[in-house]
Amino acid sequence: MTTPIIKSPYLSAHPYPGKLIIVEGIDGSGKSTQLSLMRKWLDSQGYNVFYTEWNSSALVKETTRRGKKTKLLTPMTFSLLHATDFANRLYHQILPPLKAGMIVLADRYMYTAFARDAVRGVSPSWVRRLYSFAIKPDLAFYFRVPIEVSLSRLLEGTRAELKYYEAGMDLGLSPNLVESFKIFQSRTMAEYDKIVDEFGLTVMDATLEIDEQQEQVRDIVSKALATYKPKRGTHVKREALFWRRFTLPESERAQGEADRA
């Protein structure tokens, strides 16, 4: 579809004092790993961080599960269910902390719908209008990774299997799960590439080592938070952190050595 995309509210910055940071990428790109590392790091820096995940609201999740089990879902109902879940989380989980001036991290955002629904044949401009109540994130990472890498991560990881919808089996692309995954995720990637340009997502090389990527993520996040004033309502003692930075800045390292001496 070549219709020019209408300018939507979510193309301009939101007016709230908090910060919204989101990650996108195909399954197996490592985005969730990076987000959870970022979350721990932000915690350790004393920020109050909220976290929300795609398709996780109790009500809709149950319906999606039922729909998936009975294979009753069509591209349209699939798309609308995800939008329902998103609307519900936006209203209850994302907006309140943002308005209160806190940091919200989202594992997948509306761009997931833009990419997947387009692959399933839903009109891209309709999906964009569907999500026009959404707000634009302050920072959106896209973890780009070749299909072979994501596939080997999923097959060798703890899960060691591909899911029906993750492989796009509902599209009848191939009777073979792995083949279907490759075709479906390649098409999703192609959509993501368009979305990156359209919405200005920050592209990360997701083939790098976990710690290398995390270093880059933290640099970018630090810059984005440069003018941000954290807010907390409580002064609870922080949990003991097993988490450390990968490298200490030069000044701190020198200080540490001086302390130990």
Binding site: T63, L72, M76, L80, H92
Partner: protein, 235 residues
């Protein structure tokens, strides 16, 4: 006893969503967007699994409430009018929309005389009044006001719902029969159906008749507004 194949379908009655919506109504999750989107998902499920297959097979489809109910409820709750129109942009335009119009005073009496006012029918989520009755009057008043606008915009056939059921049935039949007669001579043809859908409000072959009304109460009074015979199950 006219011999038409008929499929009836109703708001929130989809296989996928009916349970979900029922449990959503009991809970507290409903913000205006997910509220509307739950109904949109229900509608899409019925459209794809019931309405379109039935229309393709030449059935008459009777819909108890259609997308206009969502337009009205959404607008009354202060959401963007354009947004809800966009969301339901995939719908098939009905051949006929009968709007059973009633005034809010008669409506309140009817509802109290039958099963009583409920939380959602009274729009209690909008906090318009201290109790069910006050809230009901204000909420349904707003709904009727908005329905009147939508009726104008989309060319509904208005039927006075304050009359006795037999008279209402009479009035509905008088509007439905011409549409069916007109359609019967034509062959079902996807291209034609699509064209019809594109030109809003034009009558086509597979008749889709939607009934809209201010509240579910009236539905019972005038349910099945057609020469309905052998209500068929999902295709």
């Amino acid at each position: 006893m006219q011999g038409y194949g008929v499929l009836t379908t109703g708001w929130t009655r989809s296989e996928l969503m009916s349970k979900t919506i029922a449990s959503a109504k009991q809970g507290n999750i409903l913000d205006p967007w997910s509220h509307s989107l739950l109904y949109a998902t229900d509608f899409a499920d019925r459209l794809e699994h019931q309405i379109i297959p039935a229309l393709r097979s030449g059935f008459v489809v009777l819909a108890d409430r259609y997308i206009y109910t969502a337009f009205v409820r959404n607008t009354v709750r202060g959401c963007d009018r354009q947004w809800i129109h966009d969301v339901f942009g995939f719908a098939v335009v009905p051949d006929l929309v009968c709007y059973l119009r009633i005034d809010v005073d008669t409506l309140a009496l009817r509802v109290i005389e039958s099963k009583g006012m409920t939380y959602w029918e009274s729009g209690m989520d909008m906090r318009l009044g201290a109790d069910l009755y006050d809230s009901f009057k204000k909420y349904q008043g707003l709904i009727i006001e908005e329905f009147d606008k939508v009726a104008e915009e989309f060319g509904f056939q208005v039927v006075d719902a304050r009359r006795p059921p037999e008279e209402i049935q009479e009035a509905l039949r008088a509007r439905i029969l011409p549409i069916l007669k007109e359609g019967r001579t034509k062959r079902i043809n996807k291209a034609a159906a699509d064209k019809v859908a594109a030109e809003k409000g034009v009558t086509g072959k597979p008749a889709l008749v939607a009934a809209e009304k201010s509240t579910e109460k009236i539905v019972e009074k005038a349910a099945m507004p057609a020469p309905a015979k052998e209500p068929a199950t999902t295709g």
